[in-house]
Subunit: 162 residues, 6 copies
């Protein structure tokens, strides 16, 4: 049988935390889809095109991984793409509570779905999207959070903006 | 003595979770007031008139239950209406923390007030206002979350919108 | 209809926190039963007889309140005594999680049961059975935690012991 | 490549919650090992032989699943058996915190290990070992928690004891 | 050596909770800087000038305390001002989680930084900025939350507004 | 003025986490007392003499630090030794809740006491006393948790035991 996992998220931007999660589950799946949510109510400092571009940069040498936009219900997206597993990293209690509630909603809408949670490595638990923006903007060091190619892209973008 | 309970909330929309809480405490009170908050800073996808209409639909056969808007301090509303008990459902830790802090504020402003928390039934813990909107919008099944009459109203409304 | 509430616990010893909870819910019920659990796996520094004696001391002027031992399943005790409401104080997150799980077990064993949680007043959130023992033993002041008659009893008992 | 998952636990007794977790991850692995910990400091009301017997009863028709005792460090057991994935169900915040800390310890001792957490289905979140013992002992209904063959075994055992 | 502590926050407005924290740590430091964050994404009902004015009112008789705006990375501000200690009050679990993550980010950006968390006194745990606004607006009593001079300022301001 | 901090704990054994906390607060105090609790109800695999010996080994070159047993109420010990500050590391939510409650008890018994909580560095959050024992017993690597001199002592002790 063919197993596909969805890693949904905003990826604003993709971090070492995300790719660490993909690396861990990749051996178990035939295909991993990076699903970049486009209907989130959160405002993002990165356009969805930039977010997808950075995901593709990071995973370009992995033929089992593809990056795609998705909107609408996660459960419908999974059914349409024959996905049975959703994977999410969990850094904190608030994360856990949120993921738990979402997993139960997905379960109710699509009982065949399984949500897999992976505890973030402890040296990455504090990496957050808005923090990263601030660190780059004010000249902090992001090398422990971000892939080099993502870092280069963002430093250029943010410094040109101001 | 006459006992009145206030169930304050945004009711955006009323769910099976809310009416389950009302059912549980109704025998203990002479009157239960569904207090639809109108000064909340949250943006809602349902107007306050629609929210009140749906509450009234759900509770129309219960003479002990009334639905009303309220704004301002909960403690002042309670004093003005001779209410000594505030009732809230709790689904999660974040809920609990929020309710705990609000209960202590109310206690300090009006020491005669008692806050009663009811644990949500475990099959309803994941029902959230924004989730419901998405599920209806993208064609998911809401029958385990919503009363039939609420479901009909919302399906019509959301489908006409788009 | 006749409404009875059960306040189950170890009451080792009864504190101002317990009686504050009873005071708050007493107007809603015809009868409140203080249920002193005798099959708890926790070891206690107070015998169950002493614990019951102290509860009776505290509530002796309240005809609606009775104190009793109970063992076995809470849900069976409630059924045998026609109790529909279980009341518990909640001081903390760990408390909340424990109470939530117990309430769901009770709900599954006896669907007619409702668990009511009351947030402890913030100045009492740190009162714990083992702490009280230590405070008395080492001469600390317990007047903000304990009823005078409980305090007298325990001071005598603990000082005579050593 | 051959993928093996370890589901460590006390299985005192195995519940529908455990087998639900195994069912969810089984398609991803070539082999799943039910690892019954024998060096836990918790006292159990079921002998390790009974616990293993019940696991084998439940999984006897699944050739990919084996049941075994293990003691010592989980990370060493995994290395000795070429296991890269540890799977655990998570019912609550306290569970999550515990699992998170254990996963980080295992990661530090054996960086090649990945811990996968599966949120327990919400109707099973309140199933706990000691609760099950009490429910059986006092005649409650365990059919929503336990497999029929486990239930039969335990009812006989506990009723004969008293 | 000279020790300086930074108490960063939005101080919207300064409360008895904040000054209680300053009082507790003041003996340990030669200088305490009240750092009023101006780049926060939160919208505030008080201008930063008003917030600074109220902090200065409260601390005007303490020569060791100064009030200043700051924006950008906390870690950069600390380096520029030779600050090694950041102090924050913690009222709740959500607070703790947030502070924990921020402390780890700061640690990574500036390893010489130490974050000190002080548990808020239990009678102040429910004081929140938006709550205070509502209480003043609707005529509630703020004397247990606010310094008299802050109260006077805000009552005048809010009542003139409407 | 002379400032003394108490770091109370079981130190079973002292870890890099403990000394990291001492290092961070040492500049703020004239004296730091490592208070090894002898009346804890927890059973320990290390005698209190061994625990004190290991603390002294670790801190022997720091004249401002002393190691001592203490029993009874922390608040009484602080009064007797003119200590105004208690320092504790916090690794997790459960830790935080426990520390919060203890800090409020101490505050009530001795209002002049301030409790300072320091978030554990994220790479040390999973270090626990019982885990350490198991890791040594089963031959795991403790170099990221323990000082070399503590490691040597414990490896010898535990290997001689079995």
């Amino acid at each position: 049988m063919n197993h596909t996992a969805l890693l949904p998220g905003s990826f604003s931007p993709i971090t070492l935390g995300h790719s660490s999660i993909v690396d861990k589950i990749l051996p178990l799946f035939d295909k991993v889809i990076i699903g970049i949510g486009v209907n989130s109510q959160k405002s993002h400092w990165l356009s969805i095109e930039d977010r997808k571009h950075l995901c593709e940069l990071v995973f370009k040498s992995s033929p089992k991984i593809s990056c795609t936009f998705f909107n609408g219900l996660t459960s419908e997206f999974c059914r349409a793409n024959n996905i049975k597993y959703i994977v999410r990293g969990v850094r904190s209690f608030t994360d856990f509570e949120y993921e738990y509630q979402i997993s139960q909603t997905n379960k109710q809408l699509a009982p065949e779905l399984t949500t897999i949670l992976l505890p973030a490595d402890s040296h990455l638990i504090h990496v957050q999207s808005t923090t990263i923006f601030d660190i780059i903007k004010y000249g902090g060091d992001t090398s422990s959070f971000l892939h080099p190619q993502v870092r280069d892209f963002l430093h250029t973008k943010i410094n040109n903006r101001s």
